[in-house]
């Protein structure tokens, strides 16, 4: 029986990222995927991380879980430095932090049965009692809305995207983790299934007392599940703040651009004629100073000379911009 662990209700943030830098080589050049990102996630909170492709949000998620080595910076989980851990210590820590992927079918081994897939975390953690394992697996599968009897012996290709994502969630939850990084968990799903999975995630979060980092490119999806949101562009954070606040009164021009670009299902709303120039520059040669300046209508000399730091503009809301909107 999984009990939502008596999570210590300390005021300390559960996850702290300090000045994380992730770079990797690509054909002789360096890709600056994540450049000096710092953030905090409180226990029980959902932080949404939003940005377009190439902004480094997936890389950041993987780097937090130590699946990608950072060049510099630290990741503190419950006060312990994950980046300094190796080997067995890191493996044990992995039970407390988990990951859910974008492509639900690719995240399951096509040649293994669902029962084995969901039990795998228990086996890796050294849980040797087969009966207890079976119980936990069945409990998890029911929790995500699947009938264990019909699902246990099957292979992933027999299921739809939505069902595979449920299985993926069950696998992530079976070790009763405290923190889950959700990397675009609904982007590959149909609209009608998306809502189901989002509701499921909220339900699981409440039931098991989880803390989530929810990565997505769809702002509305992020807003629906997040308490706070962080907007990322080309490896840097642009704006961080409570979801309602950030989307109602964005302080960073990029956030405003993202919000305007969303197609609204209302025929009376004319798509906004904001300046939509150009494409995001490549992370191999990011612009100097503020990386958004090449597409920003408010950019000037200061923006190319100095890198803007995150500064508070409203209670709890900070923005990295020399000329914020508010």
């Amino acid at each position: 029986m999984i009990e939502p662990a008596a999570r210590s209700v300390s005021a300390e943030p559960l996850l702290e990222v300090k000045n994380l830098v992730v770079e990797y080589g690509f054909g002789g050049k360096t890709v600056h995927a994540v450049s000096d990102v710092s953030l905090e996630i409180a226990r029980g909170e959902t932080l949404g991380l939003v940005g377009e492709s190439g902004c480094g949000k997936s890389t950041l998620g993987r780097a937090i879980l130590q699946l990608r080595r950072a060049v510099s910076g630290r990741v503190l989980f419950d006060g312990e430095d994950l980046s300094a851990m190796r080997g067995e210590q890191l493996r044990r820590m992995r039970r407390r932090v988990q990951l859910i992927f974008q492509d639900p079918i690719a995240s399951l081994n096509p040649r293994r049965r669902i029962g084995d897939i969901v039990a795998e975390p228990l086996l890796i953690a050294g849980d040797t009692d087969p009966k207890k394992r079976q119980e936990l697996v069945c409990e998890m599968l029911s929790a995500v809305g699947l009938d264990p009897a019909l699902v246990l012996g099957r292979l992933p290709h027999e299921f739809s995207g939505g069902q595979c994502q449920r299985i993926s969630i069950a696998r992530a939850l079976v070790l009763n983790p405290e923190f889950i990084v959700c990397d675009e968990p609904v982007s590959a799903l149909d609209v009608s299934i998306r809502a189901q999975i989002l509701n499921l995630l909220e339900e699981m979060k409440a039931r098991f007392g989880l803390t989530l980092l929810f990565i997505a490119h769809d702002l509305a999806v992020v807003k629906a599940v997040s308490d706070r949101v962080a907007v990322m562009y080309l490896g840097r954070l642009c704006e961080v703040g409570p979801s309602e606040q950030v989307f109602a009164r964005p302080a960073h021009p990029y956030t405003a651009l993202l919000i305007d670009a969303i197609p609204v299902p209302d025929p009376d709303v004319r798509p906004a004629e904001t300046i939509r120039v150009g494409e995001p520059p490549s992370p191999i040669a990011p612009p100097s100073g503020c990386r958004f300046r090449t597409r920003c209508p408010r950019a000037d000399q200061v923006c190319s000379a100095e890198v803007p730091e995150l500064r508070a503009v409203a209670p709890n809301q900070s923005v990295a911009c020399h000329h914020p909107l508010t």
């Binding site: 993987r62 699946l67 044990r92 820590m93 990951l99 992927f101 974008q102 890796i124 290709h157």
Partner: protein
């Protein structure tokens, strides 16, 4: 919501039970032939035949008769018996040599494809060197050094097959190692060994096995060629290749001495190829989505 999922899963259950067998008639004929060859090879000692080494000098190149169903060869030995014992040799070498390739090449390929970096460069480089070595010269050199025997032959052919298996395993691993289910295993804290054995191996095994069957066919041909040249199994052990070689001298008088082993050879290689091809086609994940 759970109830609706139930209803739909019943469909899934019913549907997968009706997976069609896309295996044609040819496939089953091939399986049948292979089964026959295996059976006679295994049961050779129990079959009521004359010994393949008994030379009946009075009945050399004898015709088909009741005592000698396929006649006798140039030294009076029963052709059918030699054919059956030859099957044994072909199969033993044909199966064991690629097995060496599969185990060693497969392991090297998987590890190279998973870890990449310098190890991969080392493995691929050394395999390239091995491939560049003319196989026949290698066979000659080794036989000259340690002598002709079935064991030596099997080892040579096995080693020569390692690069090909390495390539297949590495290619499969490269595509798989980047898939999310491997990252999921890493995120769970699985050790590399566990990932290789429990996540990657089940997926890499099928293409490797399909390639193995093709490898068997190739090895039988290789062994046949070497024996034909006199570099394979030493006499008096008969192998199909050596029988063809010996039958060359009698082509004008008794062509069957060359043709029967050649025919058996041809059918067996064809059968292995067919089965290998079918398995390869089946392992292609072609889940047609509409």
């Amino acid at each position: 919501m759970a109830t609706l999922e139930l209803a739909i899963q019943e469909d899934v259950a019913a549907a997968s039970a009706r997976q069609p067998g896309r295996l044609g008639v040819l496939f089953w004929i091939a399986i049948g032939w292979m089964a026959l060859v295996f059976a006679v090879a295994i049961l050779a000692d129990l079959l009521p035949m004359p010994s393949p080494t008994d030379m009946d000098m009075l009945e050399r190149r004898g015709p088909v008769s009741v005592e000698h169903w396929l006649g006798t060869d140039g030294l009076g030995r029963d052709e059918l018996a030699r054919l059956i014992y030859g099957a044994r040799i072909s199969l033993v070498v044909g199966l064991c040599a690629p097995m060496i390739g599969l185990v060693i090449g497969g392991a090297l390929g998987m590890v190279a494809g998973y870890f990449r970096g310098r190890f991969e460069t080392l493995v691929v480089g050394s395999m390239d060197v091995l491939l560049a070595f003319p196989p026949l010269i290698l066979a000659l050199a080794v036989t000259a050094f340690v002598g002709q025997s079935i064991l030596n032959l099997t080892c040579i052919l096995g080693v020569l097959g390692i690069p090909a298996f390495m390539r297949v395993a590495r290619a499969a691993t490269l595509t798989l190692a980047r898939r999310e289910f491997v990252i999921a295993a890493q995120a769970l804290g699985a050790t590399h060994a566990r990932i290789l054995l429990r996540e990657l191996l089940p997926n890499v095994l099928l293409p490797l096995v399909a390639f193995f069957l093709l490898g068997v066919a190739i090895t039988i041909v290789a062994e046949g060629a070497l024996s034909f040249l006199g570099l394979g199994v030493p006499p008096p052990i008969s192998s199909w290749g050596s029988m063809i070689g010996e039958g060359r001298e009698s082509l004008d008088v008794a062509p069957r001495l060359a043709f029967f082993p050649a025919f058996a050879f041809f059918l067996t290689v064809l059968a292995f190829n067919l089965v290998g091809d079918t398995l390869k086609a089946l392992t292609d994940p072609r889940q047609g989505a509409l």
